[in-house]
């Protein structure tokens, strides 16, 4: 089966200077939930808007369900549900009027009542959009995307700025869409969102994909599934950092915010050796934690930066 979304060597240069996307390749299969993960300004929004046919790429090829935007745009739009980053829908229309307006653009939309119910907006159906909370607005934005009964759902940072409960509610909606056979492409800069929601993801930085795979895959590639973080009194210069690298089962070392972080395969081997070493140095241990490695660690390992920086 051909990929639902495919792009090859995608490039976008704004005003001939700013290179937002620099040679990006993607292949997304039917029924997948695919995530583009990266910091702000990495080129995620530019990429997704090119795929949605809202921006023309400077070069490269895009195909959606085997069609190109230059051939068949109006027909292709029947298949896509889109939620842009921060669309402000008209405040003086009601929720139902807004959904019905969007439904009217499609040949065979779903019934508005059904969508209202699915997104738990029935109670708010006759309220003005201006009176909705942030979570309700975001659900309405997704409702305007789902009302067309899409084959593909594009979501650009769907949960940014939402409270934890609203985020979970949206995740459920996205999973339900996927369970029903839909394909999802979303962008996010939340690690936990990517880990829980996405079957596969691509880490994007400076307009390029720097790693791609399932969340578990990416963490696996880090070398160790565990992270040991600690700090000691006294010196922790570069030479000292290299000394920790030699401890048993340690895959890599980095310094992060005054703490030393070790990627470790088997913490039960590393930790006793670590305590011994500190003792021999005559330093004192000030802090020690161990945790599961996350995508955040993958990102820091790959770029040397945290995802939420910049």
């Amino acid at each position: 089966m051909p990929p639902v979304i495919q792009c090859r060597d995608l490039r976008k240069t704004y005003d001939g200077k700013v290179e937002a996307v620099r040679g990006l390749n993607l292949e997304i299969q039917t029924g997948e939930c695919f995530g583009l993960l990266g910091p702000n300004g990495a080129g995620k929004t530019t990429t997704i808007e090119i795929l949605e046919g809202l921006l023309a790429p400077t070069s490269g090829e895009v195909s959606i369900l085997g069609h190109a935007w230059s051939e068949n745009a109006r027909e292709m739009r029947e298949w896509l549900g889109i939620s842009l980053q921060e669309t402000r829908l008209s405040e003086k229309l009601t929720v139902r009027e807004t959904i019905e307006l969007f439904a009217s653009f499609y040949r065979e939309p779903r019934s508005s009542e059904e969508v209202l119910e699915q997104l738990e907006l029935t109670e708010k159906a006759d309220s003005w959009v201006g009176k909705l909370s942030g979570g309700q607005r975001q659900r309405l934005a997704v409702a305007t995307a789902l009302v067309c009964n899409p084959k593909i759902l594009f979501l650009d940072e769907p949960t940014t700025g939402l409270d934890p409960q609203s985020r979970r509610q949206l995740w459920d909606i996205i999973r339900a869409f996927q369970r029903d056979g839909g394909t999802v492409l979303l962008t996010t800069h939340y690690m936990d969102e990517a880990e829980r929601l996405c079957d596969r993801l691509a880490i994007v930085d400076h307009g390029q994909i720097i790693a791609e795979g399932t969340p578990a895959d990416l963490i696996e590639r880090l070398g160790g599934h565990h992270v040991v973080e600690f700090s000691v009194s006294g010196n922790s210069d570069g030479a000292a950092l290299q000394a920790w690298r030699g401890l048993p089962s340690v895959e890599s070392v980095r310094e992060d915010d005054g703490m030393v972080a070790l990627n470790v395969k088997q913490p039960h081997l590393t930790i006793p050796a670590l305590l011994d070493a500190i003792d021999k140095q005559g330093s004192r241990l000030q802090h020690l934690t161990t945790r599961q490695a996350s995508l955040e660690d993958v990102f820091v390992r790959l770029t040397g930066r945290h995802l939420r920086e910049q």
Partner: protein, 371 residues
């Protein structure tokens, strides 16, 4: 709740069992127009600026510039020898109730004259003669001099050689309010066209709503058509309200047919809708489009004969003034409403409007920034 339903993963479509709902060709247009009308109705500012404000303006200006029974001439008389005689003479003249006379010293009289409190200063020169001080640049001052002089000479015994009789006329059709109402109609069509289309579009662009619409199969032409149609619906109410107000409150006589007025209104609304569209074709922020709209409208407020006739400007620039769309609309509305001139005889004005509207629309379509 369907979220909780357990459906097999990657089920084959159709995913939602529902009665098939098929939308026709014009479903998008209908909903866009309805949404636009609902939004306008729910915006109290729109109701005020489009409907109430022009009525208030007509009311205020109509009262301020109503035709008074007779203009009172305000006279300053410098106290001194001879001033008593002047007063007696004026009181004896046939026009005596036309004058409001104040006797005061020379300094105060001149100060009052400078401030526009008096139209004329009369200064007796002490040996029977009088000196008029007036301002030839102020019409009411010129009038005052003629009236005062006439009254004094008649009262003093001057005999007129030609027998004359004055008949007054202030028939509907020639008053200031008759001039004003068609001008306000035109200005109102310009204002609401420019703001209702130009501002609204940039607002939608700034909110990224245009981009979101473009992400659907919505026909872009339908969207613009819906915006224009909403202007036409509003135009009927705007024009009707102000015209009825003029008829009932100021007894304006409408000579043109309702049909021709409606046609002119529609053409005006579409022309300025087109100009509004062009103004809004590139702007990204409502601040920048507000400036642009005012820049476009400013010359027409001044030159196009809304509040006063453009005949006051040097005749060299009249061809330029007449090429402005608002001038064409105002002239056409005045000729139609006040004189009943058929539209066929006004083809050149209609052509000016159509060219402005058409060219703006085509250019706007070329440059319009959707996303």
């Amino acid at each position: 709740m369907s979220v909780a339903q357990e459906t097999p993963i990657k089920a084959a479509e159709p995913r939602h069992v529902r009665p098939p709902q098929r939308n026709g060709r014009w479903s998008g247009y209908r909903h866009l127009l309805m949404a636009r009308m609902l939004e306008l109705k729910r915006e109290p500012e729109v109701v005020f600026w489009v409907f109430v404000f022009p009525l208030l303006l007509a009311l205020g200006l109509g009262i301020a510039f109503r035709n008074k029974p007779a203009d009172i001439v305000s006279v300053a008389l410098v106290a001194g020898s001879g001033s008593q005689d002047v007063q007696t003479l004026l009181a004896r003249s046939p026009q005596h109730d036309l004058f409001k006379i104040q006797t005061l010293n020379a300094d105060e009289a001149l100060k009052g004259f400078r401030l526009g409190k008096f139209d004329i200063v009369i200064q007796p020169n002490g040996n029977g003669g009088l000196e008029y001080q007036y301002d030839p640049a102020r019409p009411e001052s010129v009038l005052a001099k003629a009236e005062v002089n006439d009254a004094l000479q008649t009262a003093a015994g001057r005999k007129d050689l030609v027998d004359t009789k004055a008949v007054t006329s202030s028939e509907p059709g020639s008053r200031y309010i008759d001039f004003l109402i068609p001008g306000l109609l035109g200005m109102n069509l310009m204002n609401s066209g420019m703001w209702g289309i130009g501002f609204a579009l940039v607002d939608m662009r700034q909110r990224k709503l245009l981009k979101r619409f473009v992400g659907t199969p919505m026909r872009r032409g339908d969207f613009l058509l819906a915006m224009m149609s909403s202007r036409l619906v509003l135009m009927v109410i705007e024009v009707g309200l102000l015209l009825l107000f003029g008829v009932f409150f100021f007894h304006i006589r409408v000579l043109g047919s309702v049909f021709s007025i409606a046609l002119l209104g529609a053409l005006g609304a579409l022309t300025f809708g087109g100009v509004g569209l062009l103004t809004a074709s590139r702007a990204q922020k409502i601040e920048s489009v507000s400036g642009l709209i005012n820049l476009v409208m400013m010359p027409m407020w001044i030159f196009s004969g809304v509040f006063f006739s453009y005949e006051r400007f040097p005749s060299v620039i009249h061809p330029l003034i007449k090429a402005l769309p608002l001038t064409a609309l105002n002239d056409a509305l005045r000729a139609c409403i006040l004189e009943g001139t058929p539209l066929l005889h006004q083809w050149s004005r209609l052509l000016v409007l159509a060219v402005w509207g058409g060219v703006s629309f085509v250019m706007a379509m070329k440059w319009f920034r959707w996303a």
